[in-house]
């Protein structure tokens, strides 16, 4: 399941909804990305964003046997400490959940069309793509 939204999300509620009623699930891995230090505005490409997130989720479900998965990504202006993204994967055993969760956030970072504009002390600054993110995505 994927969602692209301006509003915040409730991790506990999303995690409970993801696993509820499925007692084949033995492990749930999640990753939450948070705004560090300075406010930022997340711009995205409506339409393509949903499409890419769904493709990435499909790829995870091809590579691992997952019982459930969820990606929520926010856009718009966010303050420090606010949640940006939630990735959650549930599987019978922990390895599939942990690996696919790391895979999803690594791929999302380099493939989902989002751009961050930070409000730094010296003015607005577009966050630059990092080579380490390409390397993290390439290892899968």
């Amino acid at each position: 399941m994927i969602r692209v939204q301006r509003e915040d999300f409730d991790c506990g509620r999303e995690m409970a909804a993801l696993t509820r009623g499925n007692t084949r699930i033995g492990g749930l891995a999640t990753f939450v990305g948070l705004v560090r230090e300075v406010p930022m505005t997340l711009e995205h490409y409506p339409g393509m964003t949903e499409r890419k997130l769904a493709e990435i989720e499909d790829e995870a479900r091809r590579r691992w046997r997952l019982e459930a998965s969820l990606i929520i990504h926010r856009y718009g202006r966010l303050e420090p400490g606010e949640q940006i993204v939630l990735v959650a994967t549930a599987a019978e055993h922990r390895a599939a959940a942990l690996e696919s969760c790391a895979f999803l956030i690594d791929w999302l970072k380099t493939k989902a069309p989002f751009w961050k504009l930070e409000e730094t002390a010296s003015g607005p600054r577009w966050v630059e793509a990092r080579a380490s993110d390409d390397e993290a995505a390439a290892r899968w």
């Binding site: 490409y45 989902a112 069309p113 751009w115 966050v127």
Partner: protein, 83 residues
């Protein structure tokens, strides 16, 4: 063709989207970028370094040699930084 711009490419060009008639010499992403650079100083500045530009045609990432056709949705933007 529907053209979309994001992040600092959008800011430098000064608009988010526009619809243009495809000139006959524009057959791929490369020639589209070359043609756009001549549309004004904002375009020239935004697109001066093609290696910093990522392109999606009809919402799929494509290389610079990818063809563009009438009716395509072509988006130009910097490398993504979400997550």
């Amino acid at each position: 063709m529907r053209l979309l711009y994001f992040a600092w490419i959008r800011q430098r060009i000064g608009r988010h989207e526009e619809t243009v008639e495809r000139p006959p010499e524009v057959t791929d992403v490369d020639s589209l970028i070359a043609w756009l650079r001549n549309r004004g100083p904002g375009y020239a500045e935004a697109l001066k370094d093609a290696s910093a530009v990522r392109v999606a045609v009809n919402q799929e990432y494509v290389p610079l040699k990818h063809p563009v056709r009438d009716g395509d949705e072509v988006a130009l933007f910097p490398p993504v930084t979400g997550g």
